[in-house]
Symmetry: C2
Subunit: 189 residues, 2 copies
C-alpha cells in the first residue's frame, strides 16, 4: 500500500480526492429527533440534506486509520439542531479523534453505562472521543460544522443502539441559546 494525500477545501469541507461520499437526508433519521410532528412537517416539504461525510478508503483492519471530513449543515428540526446519526463503534473499545475546521457545534457523547458528556467544537479544537463512548456531532451555528475525523480501521459502526434508544441528552435552542436537556423519548421508542 502506498502513501496518499487528500486536500481539505474550506469552508465547505470537501475532501479531494476521496473514495466515498455519504449523504444523510432527513428521511434517513426517522425517530432520531425529539419533535416528531416538526419532523413530519419538514419532511413533507423537502427531504433536506442534514450532513455529508467524505472518507478515504483504507483496508478495514487493525493498524489502518480511517479518516475523512464530516459536514453538518445548519438548521433545526423543531428546536433541535441538525446532527449526525450518532453511533458506537462495533469494536466498542476504539477511540476517535475529531479536529474542528469550521463552524460551531457540540459533540454529544455517552457510554453504555449512562455517563453523558457534551463538548463544544470550535475551529482549532482537537476532541478525543475515548474508547466505548457513542458520539454524535451537532451544529449549533449558522454555518456548516466541518470536522476532520480519524478512527481505527477495525472499529466498525454500530448505529442500531442509538437508533433504538437514542442519546440520553439532546441539544435544543432555548431563548436563542443551545440548551442540553434530557431526551424525552430516550429508550421509549
Amino acid at each position: 500500500m502506498n502513501p496518499f494525500a487528500s486536500n481539505i477545501h474550506l469552508p465547505e469541507g470537501l475532501l479531494t480526492p476521496h473514495h466515498t461520499r455519504i449523504t444523510r437526508r432527513l428521511s434517513s433519521m426517522k425517530g432520531q429527533y425529539a419533535d416528531q410532528p416538526a419532523f413530519d412537517t419538514m419532511l413533507a416539504k423537502e427531504d433536506t440534506l442534514i450532513y455529508e461525510v467524505y472518507e478515504n478508503k483504507v483496508p478495514e483492519v487493525r493498524g489502518q486509520l480511517l479518516h475523512g471530513t464530516s459536514i453538518v449543515h445548519p438548521g433545526k428540526v423543531g428546536d433541535e439542531y441538525f446532527m449526525t446519526k450518532g453511533h458506537f463503534h462495533k469494536v466498542l473499545a476504539t477511540a476517535e479523534v475529531y479536529y474542528c475546521l469550521h463552524g460551531h457545534g457540540f459533540m454529544m457523547m455517552e457510554t453504555p453505562e449512562g455517563e453523558s458528556s457534551a463538548m463544544e467544537l470550535l475551529p482549532g479544537m482537537v476532541l478525543y472521543v475515548p474508547p466505548c463512548w457513542a458520539h454524535r456531532s451537532i451544529n449549533i451555528g449558522n454555518d456548516d460544522l466541518v470536522t476532520l475525523f480519524i478512527y481505527p480501521g477495525d472499529a466498525g459502526h454500530d448505529y442500531g443502539t442509538i437508533e433504538t434508544k437514542g442519546f440520553r441528552k439532546i441539544i435544543v435552542e432555548n431563548d436563542s441559546q443551545p440548551a442540553i436537556v434530557d431526551n424525552p423519548h430516550w429508550l421509549a421508542k
Copy 2:
C-alpha cells in the same frame, strides 16, 4: 476514561492543554544529517532547536489514538533542511495520519523493502502514512512546519533503524529549490 479536548494555536502549533512536550535539538540528531562538517560547525556555535512535539497522553494500547502537534522550525544543516528524527512504528503494520496546519514541507517515507516516497505538505493536506512506512517530516519553507498527527495507541516507536541506517533519500536545497537526492551515507554509518 472521559472525553477531553485541546486547542491548537496557529501559526505556532502550541497545543493547550497538553501532557507532553518533546524538544529535539541539533545534538540529539548526530549522524542524521549528510554534511557532518556543517553539523559540527553549527553545533559548536549553538545547540539549535530543530523541532518540538506536543502530545496528549492516552493509554498506549490498542483502540486508543495518540495525537498531538509537531512543529519543525525552518533552517538547514549545510544544504539539508531541518527535519524530524524519523521512525518506523514498533508495531510495524500501523499507520499514521498527518494534517498540515501551517508551513511548507515534505514527508519522506520508506519501507523496509526499499520503496521511497516523498509527499508535499501544505496547509489543508491530509497525508496517509500507511502501515510499515518509516516517516520523517522536513521543513522546506521559511516558516514553521506545523502538523497534527494521529496514530494507534499501541504503535510504539522504532527510532533505532533510521538512526543506524538513515533514509535512502534526503532533501537538500539546490539552486534555491528542494531536491530529493540519494543519501550518500545510507547504511554506511
